[in-house]
């Protein structure tokens, strides 16, 4: 079980308020991702749940038990750190066994659990090595192994993949998702990478300056962003925002259109523009088009769309996929 409820959780460092008061419910078994730009308080929020930081006010409940004042070890959570935080002087085996040893589990049970975790994580051949002798991906797996053996009520991940190279990050992302499918344990995952958030999460919590901007499933956030921040943060490349005269026909101060929701033509369309940079990715082409009265607009085109710098193109927004925002940046529905 791992249902976590935050009630008006507030955190200040001295006079600086990092988290002004958050209410959030995380259901048992859910994969929740905290996403936001750096400095938005997502790591702090995770550390508050872990018990590594004390809340200034508010309460944290895990499975109906108030753990606000409980020590980290008493919360039944396991954490995987960005730097892996393995014990450099211990072998892989002892690293994984450490939490069990601290819990005074009997040696034969430890042996069994470590062997099982190593098998799941493909670490069987590395058990006698030290962390220094492992690659980044293997170290991360050891860190995950150390978390698994405790059988925690929830896993906390603090940007676990940001020290890995792009290819490995993709693989590890799948492995963690796979692990969640197997264990069905609550996972809270912090990242600044919206692709990780979109691909892994059951529920995304978008944070900005310590505030929750929106909570929802990846597709909810993509299709129905509550405000300009979420609209701009979720989706890659970023949503185009159109203001002023060009937005008037759509009866809103600000209009947002995703690059994939613009129809592209070389003959006719709503907006006329000149192609700046064209990024050919093979599967897609991203065009940065300079449109009069609108500004720079990013458009997604097919991989074989033949166009070069300086060409004139026409763009037509898909009326059904337009996002409208009021003066305060909130969505008009």
């Amino acid at each position: 079980m791992g249902k976590i409820i935050l009630r008006n959780v507030n955190k200040s460092f001295g006079a600086t308020q990092v988290i002004p008061g958050i209410d959030l419910t995380i259901e048992d078994g859910e994969f929740v991702v905290f996403v936001g730009p750096s400095g938005c308080g997502k790591s702090t929020l995770l550390r508050l749940i872990a018990g590594l930081e004390d809340t200034t006010s508010g309460t944290i409940e895990i499975d109906g038990r108030d753990v606000t004042k409980a020590a980290p070890a008493k919360r039944g959570l396991a954490m995987v750190f960005q730097s892996y935080a393995l014990y450099p002087h211990m072998t892989v085996k002892n690293n994984i066994a450490f939490p069990l040893k601290m819990a005074k589990v009997s040696p034969d049970v430890i042996e069994k659990k470590v062997t099982e975790a190593a098998r799941v994580l493909n670490l069987t051949n590395y058990l006698e090595r030290r962390p220094g002798q492992l690659s980044g991906g293997q170290r991360q797996r050891v860190a995950i192994g150390r978390a698994i053996v405790r059988e925690p009520s929830a896993f906390l991940f603090d940007e676990p993949l940001s020290n890995l190279d792009a290819a490995l990050r993709g693989t590890m992302r799948l492995e963690i998702s796979e692990l969640h499918q197997q264990l069905k344990t609550t996972m809270i995952y912090v990242t600044h990478d919206q692709v990780e958030a979109m691909t892994m999460a059951d529920k995304i919590v978008v944070l900005n300056a310590g505030n929750i901007e929106q909570v929802g499933s990846p597709l909810d956030l993509y299709n129905k962003p509550d405000n300009l921040f979420v609209a701009g943060f979720i989706g890659s490349p970023r949503m185009n925002f159109v203001k002023g005269k060009a937005a008037e026909p759509y009866r809103a101060p600000t209009v947002g259109i995703r690059p994939e929701h613009l129809r592209l033509s070389t003959e006719s369309g709503t907006w006329r523009g000149v192609v700046g940079v064209a990024e050919h990715l093979g599967s897609d082409t991203f065009l940065h088009v300079n449109v009069e009265d609108v500004g720079m607009v990013t458009v997604r085109a097919g991989g074989d769309f033949a166009v070069t710098h300086g060409d004139t193109v026409y763009l037509t927004p898909d009326e059904n996929r337009i996002h409208r925002f009021d003066d305060k940046g909130l969505a008009i529905r």
């Binding site: 872990a50 590594l52 020590a71 980290p72 070890a73 959570l77 396991a78 954490m79 750190f81 960005q82 730097s83 935080a85 393995l86 014990y87 450099p88 002087h89 450490f98 939490p99 040893k101 601290m102 819990a103 150390r146 405790r150």
Partner: protein, 274 residues
């Protein structure tokens, strides 16, 4: 750094390194050579080939007992080092792991005491020692050496402890380690190399300390530094005996330094090179 180094350049560099090493080592070498000369030979002037007589060593041992100052040196250097660690480990610990706004200032202040000339406080300290009966006692000198080297010990340990990533301690806390478990299983194994090299360096510093040990002792607590100095007066200078005494005094620490050089170099460059 993959750079092709020609054999000739390598040879030149090696020879240059040997020359520099020889120049640095020469005073010690010449002391050893002189100690193996007879007294008339020693005053004759520069001469690299001694007659290999051990008479100076024999005289030194019969005139004054080497063993007593040697034991004093051991007790003072080891004692002051242990005492310094006892104070410095918790101090450096708290400064490294829970620093406050004033931590940097305190560290700088401690270091600044090392910049003061020792002579400036000689009279007050001498008077305090005289009035408290600490003059020429092992206890008094141990305290003195502890206080002198404490800033360096705290600094060294502080830089060591700073290198231990906080996340590892947090991981241990998440893994259910109690404070005691955290110290025994995680912190101590990671800190021991640092503490060991600090200890080695401090023993050497304390062993070599001459200013206070000569001035605050006469016979009872006099360590080897005072033992050497006693050969320069008042009967006049006896170069061969003085050299023999010096060789005897530095031999233990040289041997120790030789065996622990790897630890020492690591300790001194720790944090500077990553």
């Amino acid at each position: 750094m993959a750079r092709a180094v020609s054999t000739r350049r390598m040879a030149v560099a090696t020879i240059a390194a040997w020359i520099v090493a020889l120049i640095i080592f020469f005073p010690i070498l010449y002391t050893i050579i002189t100690s193996l000369k007879s007294e008339p030979e020693a005053i004759q002037g520069f001469n690299l080939i001694p007659s290999f007589t051990l008479e100076s060593y024999v005289t030194v041992q019969t005139q004054r007992d080497y063993f007593k100052p040697f034991m004093n040196s051991v007790v003072l250097s080891v004692g002051s080092t242990l005492l310094a660690l006892l104070v410095a480990v918790p101090a450096a610990w708290s400064m490294a792991f829970s620093p406050t706004n004033r931590t940097k200032d305190i560290l700088m202040w401690m270091l600044s005491t090392k910049m003061m000339p020792a002579v400036a406080v000689l009279v007050p300290i001498y008077l305090i020692f005289r009035d408290t009966g600490l003059l020429d006692t092992r206890l008094g000198l141990t305290i003195m050496l502890t206080l002198i080297n404490l800033p360096i010990v705290v600094w060294m340990l502080y830089t060591y402890f700073r290198e231990i990533p906080g996340e590892i301690l947090e991981a241990a806390r998440m893994d259910g380690a109690t404070l005691w478990g955290e110290i025994v299983y995680v912190l101590a194994p990671m800190a021991v190399p640092g503490i060991a090299s600090t200890m080695l360096l401090n023993i050497i510093l304390a062993w070599n300390e001459a200013f206070w040990t000569i001035r605050l002792t006469t016979t009872n607590a006099a360590p080897l530094t005072a033992f050497i100095a006693s050969f320069s007066s008042p009967q006049g200078l006896f170069w061969a005996k003085l050299s023999a005494a010096s060789t005897l005094a530095i031999a233990p620490i040289l041997i120790m330094g030789w065996f622990s050089q790897k630890q020492l170099v690591r300790g001194l460059t720790f944090g500077a090179v990553k």
